[in-house]
């Protein structure tokens, strides 16, 4: 048994994650007070505050402890507390079910982690990070591969990598909104910390396929996540699926980094890892902002179903504005931060394709193309989310009665919205810091590397012709935008605008039901991806006679492929074996006694054999 010293670690990687945790948790905590007021009793609000504190504290512990055992303890506390927060709204059946899925999945993940740590302990004889790091150098390749796979499944479950993402769209929306923002913004990021800390830092990248496997998983995750998000009409669940997508993008950076470490391209490895970390902090900021915005909508309108919303931009303009900034940022539009990190990740792919030969070139090219597709779909998804929720006319009483939320809820969102801009404009400075983090995490010396020309211009590719300057880009956008606006005012303002009703073919009965719906908006994508979504429809006609249809019901659904073809068969198998186990447990005392008796007799008869 190695000595168990409770020491904390504060290397650049830890500090980076501490920053990410604090920058999302603090606004969410401030937001929570006015969000919870009026929803629950005061005792329950106190409980929520305590749980929130423990939750944040456990996440801080996860990223700072320097000992595998304490890491597991902190990890479990984090999982359990977040479970309590998911089922916080106990009056809803759905919360309990979501919590059940969450706790089962997270414990399966933890089981894999424990297995990996046990193998590491067997070689190191100690639980300390540094001791394990030293021992891992002597670990045989086969054991390393097994440990990597175990860690990938274990952390992948927490990160929501496809096909282990199944819990995420249930658990995140069900928690109170400030918790959703912390869970989506920060908690699932601890899995990235785990992968970087344990695979890259401690284990050391051993074979080339590790990075490739992570890359493929990440690409699939981001595509699957965003396609499901496009199909969703529950706004918080849409955001949760989008988290799956963004975790995919983050892991693309990390996977690329691992890939390049193995290919012995240190500059690119550090660059890609830094790109992944950049997207991590960006996603934390804008997903936190979006979940808080969704919470405002829920608080104001009382529903999360975007088909019942609409027109909220007039009722709650500030929330709409803040949500729009989040949506633009997540859709990777300049000058916001999402653009910078996706651009960097894409550059990582392109530069990598330049520096490798053969089929690997093609592989990286395809990955880059799929990342671009993901970005496009994300933009479509948030056009839908913002457009259907905030534009047009209210679709139901819920939306009509919505009012702007209190200032205490808007201020944290203003803070995060400002950060999206700061992280977009100060990209060059931030990348320099992140490169240090990536360098220390991967053990690569970065003193001779340069990633930017000055404080404003990013320049990967070591002085070749690719540059990005977000402040200049923002300036150009501002100038062009205001120029367009001025031209419009000069030429269009003189014309008289005729205000009248929308022409409706003489029907004169346009209601909110004639509006474009979210389902209709996503229909082209449903058709384009029908090979994966497997949509089906149900129609039901109720006729009075052959000629007169009294009512007509039309439903369209998509098949949940992973649930139907992976989880359902596994569950069925578990239940089937449980049923056959039940056969030997009929509840008869005589039979139970007989089991003991027969065992005794067999032991007597076969005693000489033992």
């Amino acid at each position: 048994m190695g000595s168990l010293n409770f020491t904390l670690l504060f290397d650049p990687l830890c500090l980076f994650f501490l920053f990410v945790i604090c920058v999302v948790s603090l606004p969410a905590a401030i937001y929570s007070f006015s969000y919870l007021k009026g929803e629950y009793s005061s005792a329950k609000i106190t409980l929520a505050a305590i749980l929130l504190a423990v939750f944040i504290f456990s996440m801080l512990m996860v990223v700072t402890v320097s000992n595998v055992l304490f890491f597991l303890v902190a990890w479990e506390i984090m999982s359990l507390v977040s479970y309590f927060l998911v089922v916080f709204d106990t009056t809803h059946e759905r919360s309990v079910k979501a919590g059940m899925i969450y706790i089962v999945m997270t414990h399966i993940g933890t089981a894999f982690l424990i297995a990996a740590f046990m193998i590491m302990y067997k070689y190191a004889g100690s639980f300390d990070f540094l001791a394990i790091k030293n021992a891992c150098q002597a670990m045989p390749g086969g054991a390393k591969n097994i440990v990597f796979l175990l860690l990938l499944v274990g952390f992948g479950t927490k990160a929501g990598l496809v096909p282990l993402h199944i819990w995420l769209p249930y658990a995140h929306p069900q928690a109170p909104s400030h918790i959703s923002s912390i869970m989506s913004g920060v908690m699932i990021k601890t899995a990235v910390y785990g992968i970087i800390r344990f695979v890259i830092f401690i284990l050391g990248v051993h074979s080339g396929w590790w990075g490739a496997l992570l890359l493929v998983t990440a690409v699939i995750s981001s595509l699957v996540g965003i396609i499901y998000a496009l199909m969703e009409r529950d706004i918080k669940r849409l955001l949760a699926y989008s988290s799956v997508e963004n975790m995919g993008i983050i892991f693309m950076g990390v996977g690329l980094g691992m890939f390049f470490i193995n290919k012995n391209l240190p500059y690119l490895a550090v660059f890609s890892l830094a790109a992944g970390l950049y997207h991590l902090v960006n996603h934390a900021i804008f997903k936190g902002l979006l979940f808080l915005g969704a919470g405002c909508v829920y608080k104001a309108a009382g529903t999360r179903d975007i088909e019942k919303l609409g027109g909220l931009i007039k009722k709650m303009p500030q929330t709409a504005f803040l949500f729009l900034i989040g949506a633009m940022s997540i859709s990777a539009l300049p000058p916001f931060n999402g653009f910078v990190s996706e651009w960097l990740t894409l550059q990582g792919f392109f530069l990598g394709a330049h520096n490798v030969v053969g089929g690997t070139k093609l592989f990286l090219g395809i990955c880059a193309a799929l990342l671009a597709l993901t970005g496009g779909l994300a933009a479509a998804c948030f056009v839908k989310a913002f457009g259907v929720t905030f534009l047009a006319l209210p679709r139901s009483r819920y939306a009509e009665e919505a009012r702007e939320v209190s200032l205490a809820m808007r201020i944290p969102m203003f803070f995060l919205a400002a950060l999206t801009l700061v992280f977009g404009l100060a990209a060059s400075l931030i990348l320099r810091l992140l490169v240090k983090v990536a360098g220390s995490a991967s053990g690569i010396d970065i003193s001779g590397m340069s990633f930017s020309l000055n404080n404003f211009v990013l320049s990967p590719q070591m002085g070749k012709s690719v540059y990005l300057s977000t402040p200049q880009l923002a300036l150009v956008l501002a100038v062009l935008g205001s120029a367009g606006f001025i031209i419009y005012r000069l030429f269009a303002a003189k014309r008289d605008a005729a205000v009248s009703k929308t022409w409706d073919c003489g029907y004169y009965k346009l209601t909110s039901r004639n509006e474009y719906t979210a389902t209709a908006f996503s229909k082209p994508f449903r058709i384009a991806f029908s090979f994966f979504l497997l949509p089906y429809r149900k129609t039901q006609k109720i006729r009075e006679s052959f000629y007169h249809v009294k009512s007509f019901a039309y439903e369209t659904h998509t098949t949940k492929v992973f649930k139907k073809y992976i989880y359902d068969p596994v569950l069925a198998l578990v239940f089937k074996s449980a049923k056959s186990m039940r056969r030997i447990q009929p509840g008869s005392i005589h039979l139970y006694l007989a089991y003991i008796f027969i065992t005794l007799l067999l032991l007597i008869i076969f005693m000489p054999k033992f």
Partner: protein
Amino acid sequence: MQAIILFGVLISTYLMVIAKRSTSLIRAFRYQSFCLFLATLIIAFNEKQLDLYIVAGLLFVIKVLAIPRYLYRFLNKIKANEDLGLFINTQLSLLFALGFTYLAWVFARRLIVSDYALAAIVPAAAFFMVLIGIFLMIFRMTALAQIIGLLAAENGLFLLASTVSGGMPFFVEIAIFFDVFVSVIIMGFFIYRINKLFTHIDVNKLSRLRG
């Protein structure tokens, strides 16, 4: 002398196996306990220890007098069906019992490493009593048979302890006696409750209670 008493133990145990009614089962148990009392008395006489005399006396008072009387009175009170409810009929049970006798003998021979074959005969009888005790608990339906089966197994353990190791420490012995007595009273109470609630004491039917 010892041989005769052991013979008595065997016979009374066979009587328990072929008992069809509750009263005869209790009576057979009383015979068995009485034989055990005699065996303990002889050991006490040989070793001339006061402790063992007291143990023998307690055995007589509790297992020969108190428990059977309590069970008789109890049976009268709940007016349950006399029938024990056999899963296996008496003839077949007896065949099994004979098989167990042989098995216990083989087991004891293996356990007691001695040139003198008869050294294993008392442990063999003890094992036999334990086996039959459990056998009764399994193949008789009523809860009463389960109490008696447990007591018979306990008798077997007592015999084993008193012969192989020259008896357990005195206080342990006394504690066990009280335990047994109290447990019989508690089980009796439970049977009373079961009978009141379900109007029978058939343990086999209790399996319907499971969820």
